[in-house]
Amino acid sequence: MQLKLFVLSASSVALWLVPLNMLDKKLDIHKAVQGVSLCAAIACAVSAGNIARELSEQGEIEAIKERAITADVIDEISTSAYISQQQRQQEAEALLNPVEHLERALALTYDEGERSEPIAQKQLAEREQNCSENGDSERTERIHQLQAHGWGKAKIILEIWGVTKGGSPKYKAAEAEYKRLMQEEGG
């Protein structure tokens, strides 16, 4: 197609300039040839222009398609990045504040109806039990760490429960808790 375009363009210029310069205007036959060649040159130039316009429009359409594909890809990437960021944020929120999450779920469950109340209470109780177990295990681990540093019972109770040695009910409760944790660990 492009070869045809270039041939037509070159022939139009040649048909325009060559007969006008080479042929004699005083001879009738030459004048006739000049007229015919000028008409042919116009036809060649217009045909070449039409072909070039079609090619130009096709090129513009291809460029538009490429831009649309690029925009689609960019949009897809940005959407997936946004979704993954949202997922990470939700996961982080769920990890950081599980109790609040459960309370929200509980509130929603209450809104849905009274039938779901026992289920929600059970979920909350399980969650609290898990939390207390986690707290016990953390305390036990901390006690072992302090014992490894050579700390005594009174100092450990002061460190973990924040009560000083004496006959206060708080200290007695903390001491009982300490003993329970040690027994659980031993048993």
């Binding site: 375009l5 037509l8 363009s9 139009s12 210029v13 325009w16 300039l17 006008l20 310069n21 205007k25 004048k31 000049q34 007229g35 000028l38 008409c39 040159a41 116009i42 130039a45 217009v46 070449a48 222009g49 039409n50 072909i51 070039a52 316009r53 090619l55 130009s56 090129g59």
Partner: protein, 87 residues
């Protein structure tokens, strides 16, 4: 490719004005007719240049495009007739 098709149409316009000169050279009456045609073209060109804003609204093209068309038309006339007269 856009420049290519504009250039081809420009060359076609130049050849058309050369053909007009060739027609004018055929007979004195044809010469008079071509002169009248060129005078009419000159009047239309001048009016278009003066009424460019109104004409651009009428043709629904920008003023810059209309002025480019007018200037390219003048260039086609000068080149086409110049090539014919100098040959």
């Amino acid at each position: 490719m856009r420049a290519m098709y504009l250039a081809n149409y420009f060359v076609a316009g130049c050849i058309a004005f050369s053909l007009l000169g060739w027609v004018a050279s055929l007979h004195p009456m044809a010469f008079q007719a071509v002169l009248c045609l060129l005078a009419a073209i000159a009047c239309a060109w001048g009016l278009s240049w003066l009424l460019d804003f109104s004409l651009s609204k009428l043709l629904k093209i920008s003023v810059a495009d209309l002025q480019a068309l007018l200037i390219s038309g003048l260039a086609m006339l000068l080149i086409g007739l110049g090539v014919f007269l100098c040959s």
